[in-house]
Symmetry: C2
Subunit: 404 residues, 2 copies
Amino acid sequence: MAVGQVSFPQMNPIAGISLGTTNAGIKQTVRADILVVQMAEGSSCAAVFTQNAFCAAPVHVAKAHLSQSPRWLLINSGNANAGTGASGMSNALFTCEAVAKLVSGAATQVLPFSTGVIGEPLAVDKIEHALPNAIAQLAEENWTAAAQAIMTTDTFAKGATRCIEVAGEKITINGISKGAGMIQPNMATMLGFMATDAKISSALLQEILSFSAEQSFNRITVDGDTSTNDACVLMASGCSAAPEITAESPYYQVFADAVLAVCKELAELIIRDGEGATKLMRIVVEEALHDAEAVQVAKTIAHSPLVKTAFFASDPNWGRILAAVGRAGVENMDLDKVQLYLGDVCIVENGGRAASYTEQAGQAVMNKEEITVTVRLGRGVATQEVLTCDFSYDYVKINAEYRS
Amino acid sequence: MAVGQVSFPQMNPIAGISLGTTNAGIKQTVRADILVVQMAEGSSCAAVFTQNAFCAAPVHVAKAHLSQSPRWLLINSGNANAGTGASGMSNALFTCEAVAKLVSGAATQVLPFSTGVIGEPLAVDKIEHALPNAIAQLAEENWTAAAQAIMTTDTFAKGATRCIEVAGEKITINGISKGAGMIQPNMATMLGFMATDAKISSALLQEILSFSAEQSFNRITVDGDTSTNDACVLMASGCSAAPEITAESPYYQVFADAVLAVCKELAELIIRDGEGATKLMRIVVEEALHDAEAVQVAKTIAHSPLVKTAFFASDPNWGRILAAVGRAGVENMDLDKVQLYLGDVCIVENGGRAASYTEQAGQAVMNKEEITVTVRLGRGVATQEVLTCDFSYDYVKINAEYRS
């Protein structure tokens, strides 16, 4: 089940970035579950990682390797290699060495990523066995296969792409991501991999990625559970004919905006494919004192099981939204100044139900598949938006049966 | 559905505290939905209320009236009178006046409480019409009927009682409460009403109630949603023959312990009857730096939809518990020092799965109806416990259909 009609976009190859997938039999026996990405020599690379204190072994390793001029990514689905202690660390390093041997690189130039069940030993023998095939498949055209290989409970592959012109030359930015549960990225995301042929320093790339991830992946939540394995990578091969993008370049903002657009599209796709999702909700908090307050209120609404089940039932039970705003921890909130809208319909003003509100008008909005909830706090001028989905029978079903 | 076999206890009357119920037709058409409690003149009364910023109109009124030597409580189920603006306030005051007229008291001596759907106008005419009958029913024996009258989505009436001896004289403490959703009391509880025939000042009663509520009602959560209407009241009629309980009295601690025991039992009953609950989980966090840290970690686990659905499925998916600990916001946590137990079974130590752990042993614990999860943080000596329940299909069903 997914919210809206979603098809994988036509994605142009990125010169200097090749992708190879194969099946290693980690959990699934048929689908590809290994992805290797190779960057041209001299590529830049930036990444953001989960803030979960128990971050997975591959996250530790990828963080350490990020400054060592990375040339390869190795991603496996089906096993998170998290909560696996010392053996998890040596397993992650072992897979880096296995890639390095096959490509005549250094193990420190490989960034490993894992996603799947937590606490199971990673089947490194299976990965080692499958790697030659994945590397044999390396090609710049494989974005769709790559997006499929990183899926876990996702029901569709997720991709987004943008093209910009820099000094008359084309630059492409491609991205893929996966969800679909344990989603409340914190300063990072679920797995997201983006690449561009732009020429840009790693430092500047990191600045752009950090900002973009904060405004996109860090503004979505399925269940409020921050994964141990979240990571988002932006690679730049520099193979485009366009001049280098610098902080002073007139094209800096154009490029940064395109990266943000790809991030936002990937983040929204994760919510559209949220576990059991039948509805997409945009929670917009306006007139907050500052951004953090707006995000805090929006996430409290987005995490409320009572709000999420009401949306599943298409029930305009706005009292639950108001109760969530009230428990969001905002000091000295004045209920009389708070306004609440479902779509364009004003529900709450002056501390109670709006005089103009009718249940029919609220019901008409709730019947839609995509719904915007707007809360005006009447305290300031900050606005932030959080995307989430509803809580359905299928959310319980998917997560009750995840390991069976 | 409820966890465990629960029957309403045999509750002795409390001299000086009488209770009367009736049906006013607020939402249910058959069941009693109005409860009036009358305290003997000279009774003491203490209360704690929700910290939700959008607390309901009756909460505002009850807070204001608490210092005016209250003699009566008026509780209605079926409508929360929350999010109802200025008319909600005048409706709450109107019901106080309606009681006052019938009993020849002052409206300021009436504490109003409401529970039910948020945002609907309170049918004060129905309440006014029904009140004479409720007052005609006033009697000291009506604890069971009282517990039934305050139910909303509860599947059974909740009561707890303790008797202590003070200087050779018997003192009784009775309590009733209701759940069963929007449960994460914050410095208060869902509705809980307790009474005793002890002689004790309101100030001391408040001290005991505040401490007990913090250690009981504030340590439970069904869905993390703090209600707009939480309130907990402790009345003391002073009608017992026992001497007054003072701060210096040797019986102070005996009395306080008995109140805490009643609070804890009522709180646990709310969880046993949590919406859709099939399991009761005790989340015990040990070796925390301080109590607040222990509660924070325990509540993060207790609120995780992924943890709750895994318990529903009896799946020992402990990675989800570890991920919740990791995102609980504890600074500088050392995974290598963290231990995780399901019942008596050690699952995690030294940063990974315990060598002794077997899936069968974990499964045997998960198959039980009542499960203790123990997390040792290895940081200090503070211990705190939070009670919660699982997330089932029925949780979604109950909350998707609540207003229909």
